[in-house]
Every structure is written in structure tokens, then in C-alpha cells.
């Protein structure tokens, strides 16, 4: 069964004003349980608006959203419960930290769920371990930490609610390459351990290609395609025409093919590319 489903979902900003803008246009989607989905699209393509519909922060202008088969906005009182099911981590989540200690901040979500103190403690410590926050750090004020650490505490704050679906909006933006790799690695780890659905919004094709089982490409408020990475990157030319780059390694291999080398066109991670090259070199050495 699909955990998120949308039907003819549309959202318009500033209806009836000169600033009217269609941000999401007639989107039909079905997202299966346990998947790791990458959402890409350039700025203003509607990806951030789309994901805010999944936990009822935005009300669709028309169409509907189903979470676990339940239609949102039929009963407004249920929205809060839905928000515990679909955890949303905003861009630059460290700006929402507010408690005296990291522990308390991570506990904010679970406490709002009305869990027992024991359960809250268990969840906070488990999430902290999962996302690499030490016990000493938990007792510190979030404002004393480094940028990357703050980011992790903020993400942990949503993870600790153990949502069925975790949506992260550009969780690695503004971090250095090491911080990026760490955050994305930890999210992958989380997915592996919890087997929950994860949606990762990103600009970086590399990140998405490396981690996701399926990719959702948004363009001009519409879904351009929703498919496996192999199938998505096969449409390299179309992607480039809408201003999205395919991973660099895919581009290298596309060029190699254009130059007459017989290569698969399904190369989108550096690891796989390396393997192919090694194989080709080994074949050449064996030839003469």
C-alpha cells in the first residue's frame, strides 16, 4: 500500500492578487512504504511547496492528499496526528532550535506526542546515538555547537518522533563536503535501520543518485518524472534542458559513449563507473 498518495494536487500562492503563482500543478503521486526517494528540481519548481502538503502544513487549493489512506483536511483535528506520522525537516533546521539543552530540544517533538517520560528518554537517546550526538553534547546548549552539529540535533528532533515518513528539505545545504557526506550518510543509516520511508529534497544529483531508490523530478510545478535513477538519468538531455545536471560521472560516460566507447548508459555513481573502467582496462590487457 502506498503511504503517501496525491490526486490532482494543485496549490496556488496569492490567489486573486497580482502575485498569483501556481506552485504545484495537478500532481498525481504514489509513494510506497520503505522507499528512499530523492526529490529534485531547480529553485521554484515547487518541490518545497509539494512536501509541505504531505503533513498538512499547506492546504491544497484543489485535489487531495492521502496519508496511509486517510484523506487530509477532512478532519482538521486529525492534522496534528498526521504531523507525527509524517516528519518534516525544513531547510536550515538549526534555526528552529530553542531549548536550553539539545536533549530538551530533541524531546520537544516526542513530548508533544504525549509520550511517557521513559519513552521520551529512550527515543532521545536512541536518535542521538543514531545521528552521532554524544551524551556530553546532549547536555549542552544547542547554541554552543558547530553548524553541522546543530543541524544534526535539529534533524534528530524530528527523527525522535519516529515518523512513518521522514521528509528532509535540503538537509545538507550550506555545509562543507565533509559535513554533507556525514549528514547524508547518517540519513541513509537511519533508513536502513528503521526501514521507514525517507524523502530527500536536494539540488545535488550526485547525492540523490548515490542514496535513493527512486527519484522524483519536479519542473515548473509539475512532476516531470518519478522513476528509478537509471530510468531518470537516461533522459539526461531533457534534464539538462530544464537546467538540471545529471551526475558528473554520468556525463563523463555519456561523452565516452559519444566518442565510440561501448559503455552502459546506466552509470550514475562513481563506484560503478570505476568498476566499469577497470573491467574495460582488464579486457584490453587480455586482448593482445
Amino acid at each position: 500500500m502506498s503511504v503517501i498518495k496525491t490526486e490532482n494536487l494543485s496549490f496556488v500562492y496569492g490567489e486573486g492578487t497580482p502575485f498569483r503563482k501556481v506552485a504545484v500543478d495537478n500532481v498525481d503521486l504514489e509513494i510506497g512504504e520503505g522507499e528512499f526517494i530523492g526529490v529534485i528540481g531547480h529553485t521554484g519548481s515547487g518541490k518545497s511547496t509539494l512536501i509541505q502538503h504531505f503533513n498538512g502544513l499547506l492546504k491544497p487549493t484543489s485535489g487531495s492528499v492521502y496519508i496511509d489512506g486517510e484523506r487530509l483536511w477532512d478532519d482538521k483535528a486529525r492534522l496534528r496526528a498526521i504531523r507525527f506520522k509524517v516528519g518534516l525537516v525544513f531547510q536550515y533546521p538549526e534555526y528552529q532550535l530553542f531549548e536550553e539543552t539539545c536533549y530538551k530540544d530533541i524531546a520537544f517533538g516526542p513530548r508533544n506526542m504525549g509520550l511517557s517520560e521513559e519513552e521520551i528518554d529512550k527515543r532521545v537517546r536512541e536518535t542521538a546515538r543514531l545521528i552521532g550526538i554524544s551524551d556530553a553534547m546532549l547536555e549542552k546548549s544547542p547554541f554552543e555547537l558547530s553548524g553541522g552539529q546543530k543541524r544534526r540535533v535539529a534533524i534528530a528532533g524530528v527523527m525522535a518522533m519516529e515518523p512513518k515518513v521522514l521528509i528532509l528539505d535540503e538537509p545538507a545545504s550550506g555545509l562543507d563536503p565533509k559535513g554533507r557526506a556525514k549528514i547524508l550518510g547518517l540519513i541513509r543509516e537511519y533508513h536502513k535501520e528503521k526501514k521507514n520511508t525517507v524523502m530527500l529534497v536536494s539540488h545535488s544529483m550526485e547525492d540523490v543518485a548515490k542514496h535513493c531508490s527512486k527519484i522524483l523530478v519536479m519542473n515548473n510545478a509539475k512532476v516531470f518524472c518519478y522513476d528509478t535513477p537509471v530510468n531518470v538519468f537516461r533522459r539526461a538531455q531533457e534534464l539538462e534542458s530544464m537546467g538540471l545536471a545529471v551526475p558528473q560521472v554520468t556525463r563523463v560516460f555519456n561523452r565516452l559513449r559519444a566518442m565510440g566507447c561501448a559503455v552502459d548508459d546506466e552509470v550514475y555513481t562513481v563506484g560503478f563507473g570505476k568498476e566499469l573502467i577497470m573491467k574495460a582496462l582488464a579486457g584490453r590487457r587480455a586482448e593482445p
Binding site: 502544513l57 525544513f90 534555526y95 532550535l97 530553542f98 524530528v158
Partner: protein, 273 residues
């Protein structure tokens, strides 16, 4: 919800009123207020109303903006109307019940006062609708510059105002974002007692404060990097200049003020005869 606040909301346009010098507009707004208070009876007030309608027609500001600027002061209008309605006791009695008495004078004053307040608000809102905040503070700084002689930090005040105005939309956006983020973590801001709701604001206010301080620091640094050191010897890229439009505007306002005074006279003479 938060986007409904209209303080300092500029509505870009190219009408003659948009093109007027901000200093002139500021002075004319004061003149307009004087005009409304000069109007001593309902007839001369009609001249003021006509002026208000005229400037809105010229500026081509949409009608719903007017409604929007009136919304927050509706309670004040209603309150003063009720006060006038019940406490003015002279004139013919329309309706009486125990100690409550509604008289013709009372009704007249209530209507008169409401119209005056409405004109006052929507007329002076036009200043902020048709003048960008930057122009406005520029004009204000220029108008107040004589005060520098008595050591009033006019430039600093104007700069503070510019910055404050500039950051209102940014802060609103930021608040919206933080609210969404905390709602996503299950923060409940809509239900519960007043005390509970006030407490629910903490997760919003603290991040907002923190980011405001961060922003202020970044801005100060950026300004210093560009060698900002106060108003001393600072020149402007856009010099304020008077044009024909300003003169015409001033003349029109003067004509209307004269109109109000004349109508006042005529009516009082009519009453005397």
C-alpha cells in the same frame, strides 16, 4: 495570516502620486490631516471625503487595500461611534429608554466622527502605499535635517527606520517558517488556555530572537565593510528633486483646504441667517 499586516506596505505604481517627491508627500499628508480637522461640519467634511476619493482614483490603489487598512481600526471607529451616540445629549430625541437617550446631535456626531477617522486613516495610508520605505525615510531625514543643529541624530534615526522597515517582511517570512517548523514537530498554537498559548510562543520567539541578533550582526558587519560611518559627509545616489507634479499636488491640496474653509464659513453663515 501574518501576511495581512500592511504597515509600510508599498504598492508599486507609476501614477502622479507615486512620482511625487517624498518630502512633499509627507508635508501634504500633514496638510491633509489639518484639512480634516478644519472641517467643522458635515458639508465641509464632504470636501475632505472628495479629496480622499480623488487621490485614491489618481493613485490607482486597489479598493481592497483600503478595506485592509481599515480593518485594524474598526474597533476604534465602532467605539467612538457608540460613545458619541449615547453621550451626546443635545438635539431632538429619537429614542429613549431609562437613562439611554439617542438624539439627532448624537447620530450626527457619530457619523461625522467615523467619516473623519476613516478618511484620516485611509488618506494617510496612501503615503505608505505610494512611497517606498526608502524614499519615505529619505524624505523624513531631509525634512528633519534642521534638527541636527540641536544635536538630534536625524540621520541615525532615519537609518534605523529604514532598516526596521526593510526587515519587517523578512521577519514575517522568518516567523512563518519557524511556525511551520515547530508545527511540524507537533507544537500546538491554536488550542488551550491563554496561558498555554503564551507558553506555546516560546519555541517561536526564541529562534526568532536568535536569528534577529544574527541578522543584525551580519548587517552591521556588511555595513562596516562598505565603510559606513554615519551620516557625516554621506552623499546620495538619488537626489530628491521637486517636479511640476509636486507643485500641482501642493496647489490641489491648498485648493481643497481653501474649499473646506469656505464651506465652513458658508454653513456657519447659513446657520446664523
Amino acid at each position: 495570516m501574518l501576511k495581512d499586516i500592511t504597515i509600510g506596505q508599498f504598492f508599486p505604481g507609476t501614477s502622479p502620486i507615486h512620482r511625487m517627491d517624498s518630502r512633499v508627500k509627507l508635508l501634504l499628508t500633514i496638510a491633509f490631516i489639518v484639512m480634516l480637522f478644519l472641517a467643522g461640519n458635515i458639508y465641509s467634511l464632504c470636501v475632505g471625503v472628495a479629496f480622499t476619493i480623488l487621490i485614491y482614483v489618481i493613485s490607482r490603489i486597489p479598493f481592497r487595500m483600503i478595506l485592509k487598512s481599515l480593518k485594524p481600526i474598526m474597533p476604534i471607529i465602532i467605539f467612538t461611534s457608540i460613545l458619541n451616540l449615547f453621550f451626546v445629549r443635545s438635539g431632538d430625541v429619537y429614542w429613549e429608554w431609562k437613562f439611554i437617550k439617542i438624539t439627532s446631535e448624537g447620530v450626527n456626531t457619530a457619523v461625522f466622527m467615523s467619516i473623519r477617522i476613516i478618511c484620516l486613516i485611509i488618506g494617510s495610508s496612501l503615503l505608505t502605499y505610494t512611497t517606498s520605505p526608502i524614499d519615505l525615510t529619505d524624505g523624513l531625514e531631509r525634512l528633519l535635517s534642521p534638527l541636527k543643529k540641536i544635536k538630534v541624530p536625524v540621520h541615525e534615526l532615519a537609518m534605523m527606520m529604514t532598516i526596521a522597515l526593510r526587515f519587517i517582511p523578512t521577519l514575517i517570512e522568518e516567523t512563518d517558517k519557524i511556525m511551520s517548523a515547530q508545527k511540524a514537530r507537533g507544537a500546538d498554537m491554536e488550542t488551550g488556555s491563554v496561558f498555554k498559548r503564551a507558553k506555546a510562543l516560546i519555541p517561536i520567539l526564541i529562534p526568532l530572537f536568535v536569528s534577529s541578533f544574527r541578522r543584525a550582526e551580519e548587517l552591521a558587519l556588511a555595513m562596516e565593510c562598505r565603510c559606513y560611518h554615519g551620516g557625516e559627509g554621506r552623499t546620495r545616489m538619488k537626489q530628491l528633486k521637486m517636479h511640476l507634479v509636486d507643485l500641482i499636488g501642493a496647489l490641489v491640496v491648498a485648493a481643497f483646504i481653501a474649499g473646506v474653509v469656505v464651506v465652513n464659513r458658508l454653513v456657519s453663515q447659513g446657520a446664523a441667517v
